[in-house]
């Protein structure tokens, strides 16, 4: 198992010693007084100050007395804007009557126009204004006048509501949007006490990161539409958790009342998500409590109908269906590391096969070999982005596919103009925001562009899972890295993929990155597992498993958390499932359920414990947030099925699996070799033909976003993007309907004329109003026809 280490940068930091309230403290040069005081445990009240935002000095709550070299400032200073200096003496409210009065005065003024609606305010109970009014305010108000009033609330997007009366105008939200998210869609407008947060005309606050403004609002001015008036903070039970929506690995907090998740917040992890997360991570959790959750096992009877069954019945049917069959395992990228380990062990011991693959998408042997040779065990981290001299994005749209990676790159772009290059067909909103060099290529022609890059050992290549869709691209990435010393980070979309890779849920790898082909590696694992031997033949990939099921060389398949509609060849996948004995482990009905012979309901993320490995390989452990009778991790069920088959895998609990994974140790043997594949280049087109280019947006029809109408309200509109040249030849302008078709089917979407390669058309996958993969059964670089509808 990989553990990531913070690079202990041994750069000497100049320390400055200051005296605060009589206590000396030494802090790095540039530290703000308010932060130096924190180090001593001295809490100076504040509202606008936020350690991750640029200082603004607007609220004036943190006033302290300061003298430098014996010269005192004539008036108290905002400690959130002043960096420490040598020979500085600071007196906070604890030792300066002036500072104390100044703070009390500001607090009184802040409350002049603040409504006394704490009893109905979402923030009441966890409100910095409420708390600091208790510590720094006066018991009774001297204000007897008229407070300003506004209409409330105002929806600044479908998911964020604004109560202007409560706002203390600290500008945290506007600074976050501008500085961190690079989405300056909200701003302060008007003057004086009528100043207010506003959106631009006809342009709501549709940022993927808008939820953070709700979380950092120091009052109840910004509230989440879904959570508003739903709970009091002190009635919630909080559990530290990890986000299951992507591979960024956000630390999270899940707040539950009486067994029901009511909200999720970004947790603090300076090394990973700092204090942020994306709106999907924050606001997509209702799928867990969706009405169509699978609650009981289902078994297909002799009449061909799926019927509810007891657990013993279902386990027996599953075991009977698998026993003695040629079976494979398809496990989706949503499984926890422990669950993936369970599937991996189940395949090897209970099914006696290496036919297991976690990749529910376009998969190639090239990618499998790349993962085995270059990714498993790798230790590239967020920190490497922080210190990189050049970040290259290959088959990867960070804002859509791993939003915290986007924030991290954006931070460095803003801070030190970090150079970013994107090899892509279409200039995306996110890449544009990163001021990246856009290296425009036809779909399928990425390899040549990547090969032409010149990098250094301080550079980092961020490779997305879509890189596998362009044959030869991963080979070129590997060559570029070998040549330049640049680091590679493989950033899949799903939270469980890196963990599944490390857990050996791949035909070529055993747990811990041990190559199946290596006898010593097999001995390692068979010893740990207490079995005489392990299957020797390297396993099939996802597409090979589908092929084998269709051709009859496999009879049965265990499917966990895989949606066939995610795959470019969904037609073949569904046909394969129809022919075979299928065991489905799922939380809710899917296309697999209809074709399954045994359906085993499993626990959703908040109902179980476990961990993910984010793209860095960093463990993100979490506990179950709700106690639920469904608390059945996949591995516990697999363990029961294996027991029924008489092939025990001994994984009754997540803890047991975690302990076993921890005891694996590192593989210090040789890594799998990586054989380069030559890129064929882009396909040739003529007339109205175009090469298909697509990716998934952050907010789309993903099954884990089910039931979140407010969240969906801020999704980007589904469009078909073509270049100005193609638009001209088709006589199309923005908004006209385009028809994208091939021999399999067609989709129609409004046109958007943008910066995209002339040979390409871009459409979103799995998005509102379009199911590209299903409708066209095609993937990246395939030829389609584009006409005006």
């Amino acid at each position: 198992m990989t553990t990531t280490q913070e690079n202990p940068t041994a750069q000497a930091v100049e320390l400055i010693t200051v005296v605060i309230d009589g206590f000396e403290v030494s802090v790095p040069k540039g530290t703000l007084v308010i932060r130096a005081a924190e180090k001593l445990g001295i809490q100076i009240p504040r509202f606008c100050d936020h350690p991750l935002l640029d200082p603004v000095g607007a609220c004036r709550q943190c006033l302290v007395d300061i003298e430098i070299n014996g010269r005192a400032f004539p008036k108290p200073q905002a400690s959130c804007t002043i960096p420490v200096e040598p020979n500085m003496i600071v007196k906070t409210q604890l030792t300066s009557a002036v500072a104390e009065k100044a703070q009390r005065g500001v607090m009184e003024l802040l409350l002049v126009n603040h409504p006394l609606d704490c009893p109905v305010c979402d923030k009441g109970g966890e409100c910095p204004l409420q708390n600091q009014a208790m510590s720094t305010g006066n018991g009774e108000t001297r204000f007897e006048g008229v407070k300003r009033t506004f209409e409330k609330p105002v929806a600044i997007s479908s998911q964020v509501l604004l109560d202007r009366e409560r706002c203390v105008l600290c500008a945290r939200c506007t600074r976050f949007s501008e500085q961190i998210a690079n989405d300056p869609f909200i701003t302060l407008n008007e003057r004086g006490a009528l100043q207010q947060v506003g959106i631009y005309e006809n342009q709501p606050f549709e940022s993927y990161f808008s939820g953070n403004t709700v979380q950092i609002c120091p009052v109840g001015a910004l509230t989440g539409a879904t959570y508003r008036f739903r709970a009091r903070p002190f009635d919630l039970v909080s559990t530290p958790s990890a986000c299951e929506h992507c591979a960024s690995g956000c630390d999270m907090r899940t707040d539950v009342r009486r067994g029901k998740t009511l909200r999720r917040l970004a947790g603090d992890d300076a090394a990973v998500n700092e204090e942020w997360n994306c709106d999907k991570g924050r606001w997509a959790f209702k799928y867990v409590t969706a009405v169509d959750r699978l609650t009981t096992p289902l078994v297909r009877g002799a009449d061909g109908v799926l019927a509810p069954a007891s657990w013993p019945e279902a386990l027996a049917a599953a075991a009977a269906g698998l026993k003695g069959k040629r079976a494979a395992v398809l496990v989706g990228g949503r499984a926890t590391t422990e669950d993936a380990y369970g599937y991996s062990k189940f395949a090897r011991i209970a099914l006696g096969t290496n036919d297991i693959d976690f990749r529910a998408r376009v998969t190639t042997d090239e990618e499998r070999d790349f993962l085995a040779a270059k990714v498993v065990g790798s230790t590239t981290t967020y920190r490497d982005i922080d210190v990189a001299d050049h970040v290259v994005l290959v088959g990867f749209e960070p804002e859509e596919e791993s939003p915290i990676v986007f924030l991290r790159i954006n931070k460095q772009v803003r801070k030190r103009a970090l150079k970013v290059s994107a090899v892509a067909t279409k200039l995306s909103i996110g890449v544009d925001k990163l001021k990246a060099e856009f290296i425009k290529v036809a779909p399928g022609a990425e390899s040549a562009a990547v090969a032409a890059l010149s990098l250094t050992a301080k550079s980092i290549i961020l490779v997305g899972e879509r890189a596998s869709e362009s044959t030869g691209l991963l080979s070129v990435v590997a060559q570029l890295s070998d040549k330049s010393g640049a680091k590679i980070a493989w950033i899949p979309r799903r939270a469980g993929e890196r963990g599944a890779l490390e857990a050996g849920a791949l035909g070529a790898l055993l747990p811990g990155g041990r190559p199946v082909a290596d006898a010593a590696a097999r001995v390692d694992i068979s010893t740990l597992w207490g079995v005489p031997s392990l299957p020797v033949n390297p396993g099939r990939t996802t597409s090979e498993i589908v092929e084998a099921l269709n051709s009859g060389s496999l009879d049965a398949v265990v499917v966990g958390g895989v949606d066939p509609l995610d795959m470019a060849n969904s037609v073949e996948v569904l046909a394969a499932l129809k022919k075979s004995f299928v065991i489905s482990l799922e939380i809710a009905p899917s296309a697999v359920t209809e074709l399954a012979d045994v359906v085993l309901p499993v626990a959703a993320i908040t109902e179980k414990s476990g961990s993910f490995l984010n793209w860095e390989g960093r463990p993100r452990a979490f506990d179950s947030a709700v106690s639920d009778s469904l608390n059945r991790s996949d591995l516990r069920i697999l363990s029961a099925v294996a027991d029924q088959m008489g092939e025990s895998i001994m994984l009754g609990t997540v803890t047991q699996a975690a302990r076993e994974i921890a005891s694996l140790g590192k593989w210090d043997g040789a890594r799998a070799n990586f054989a380069s594949v030559t890129a064929p280049g882009a396909q040739k087109i003529s007339g109205n033909e175009a090469l298909l280019n697509s990716w998934r947006r952050l907010l789309d029809l993903g099954t884990m976003q089910k039931g979140e109408a407010n969240l969906a309200g801020t999704a980007r509109k589904s469009v078909a993007v073509i270049s100005p040249k193609r638009a001209e030849s088709l006589g199309v302008k923005d908004g006209d309907i385009l028809r994208v078709s091939n021999g399999h089917g067609a989709i129609s979407l409004p046109a958007l004329v943008e910066d995209i390669h002339d040979d390409a058309v871009w459409v979103p996958r799995n998005s509102f109003g379009t199911q590209t993969l299903i409708s066209l059964n095609a993937a990246h670089g395939d030829v389609v026809t584009v006409v005006k509808a």
């Binding site: 603004v56 609220c59 500001v106 003024l109 002049v112 003057r191 100043q195």
Partner: protein, 426 residues
Amino acid sequence: MTKLAPVLSAHWDEKDSFTIAAYTRHGGYKASAKALAMEPDAVIQLVKDSGLRGRGGAGFPTGMKWGFIPQGDEKDHYLVVNADESEPGTCKDTPLLMANPHVLIEGCIIACHAIRAKQAFIYIRGEVTHVVRRVNQAIEDAYKAGHLGKGIDIVLHVGAGAYICGEETALLDSLEGFRGQPRLRPPFPAIAGLYARPTVVNNVESIASVPAIIANGAEWYQGMGTEKSKGTTLYSLSGHVTNPGQFEAPLGITLREILELSGGVRAGHKLKFWTPGGSSTPLFTDAHLDTPLDYEGVSAAGSMLGTKALQIFDETTCVVRAVLRWTEFYKHESCGKCTPCREGTWWLVQILRDLENGVGTEDDLAKLLDLCDNIMGRSFCALGDGATSPITSSIQYFRDEYIAHLTNGGCPFDPVKSTLFSGANA
């Protein structure tokens, strides 16, 4: 007895004083030609030696400000002229620009040369359309005459009418196209001002004073004024006086002298209170008639020279009424960035309104003063401080009048008596 000393206003009485012809007739654009032949550092030194201090209110030495601009940094430098004259009572830049816009343009040329800037911006408040037209014409004429466009350019920018945009960093934000709100300092404009480039922001009168200094030398300028406040300046007399207007005199003249020179308080009335430099400077009374109106003298007497806007109020004026009107102005113009100014002015107005209507107790005066103490020196920029000045100074001098409102159950004054039309229908 100090005499008037018209330098800036020397030819304002000529009909065509605003034209380039009149300006040239009186030696205009000779100073810039002289300055352009000098080393930039020598120009800065000369201005330093002259003792010229900023006329926008703070009185910072102009030459020293220019000297803060880093030289040889390979960056663009900018000169920004603050013509956003918005302080209640302040009315010097408007007549100056109406009567002689070319002196500002020539000053810009000299200042740009000194600070190695190729571009100057004049930021004029939007309401004074007539001034905008006149300066535009002058700039056009200066281009035609070849004074501009040969290495130094001027852009006239018209503000949208916000008091806060007279604050130099808010002005820069506004000039850049943002909402005008003061910026956090440091960095100071001299290091990162307009478009994050080294920038000098000067008041109209400061820049307009430069050509005469270049033409006549530092010693000539030093010969006028007082020990630390050199030169002449425009005193803007307004309110209850016989002859309101601009009176240019050496710094250090007293109000008594100006009143004598100008014809005094309006007939039949006597001075009650006055502002030495606009509504943000603490009030003076008739006890301050002999206070020297220079930076040090006014400061020593507990106020500020500010913009030398001498607003004169006679005994018919209710001080509570006047202070409330000013405070309403500050409430309306508070930019909203910081808590003390934004919320404080909101509250101050409500208390003062009650007091004017005779509602409240003497405790409210204590509350008012305490509130002012919580705003003064606690706000982000000086505008919050300025909002408290009329209140604290008026309570200091006229506490009894406040209390009279309470005992009288309302204002004891007849507001009509303080107007110009008082007596018209009697």
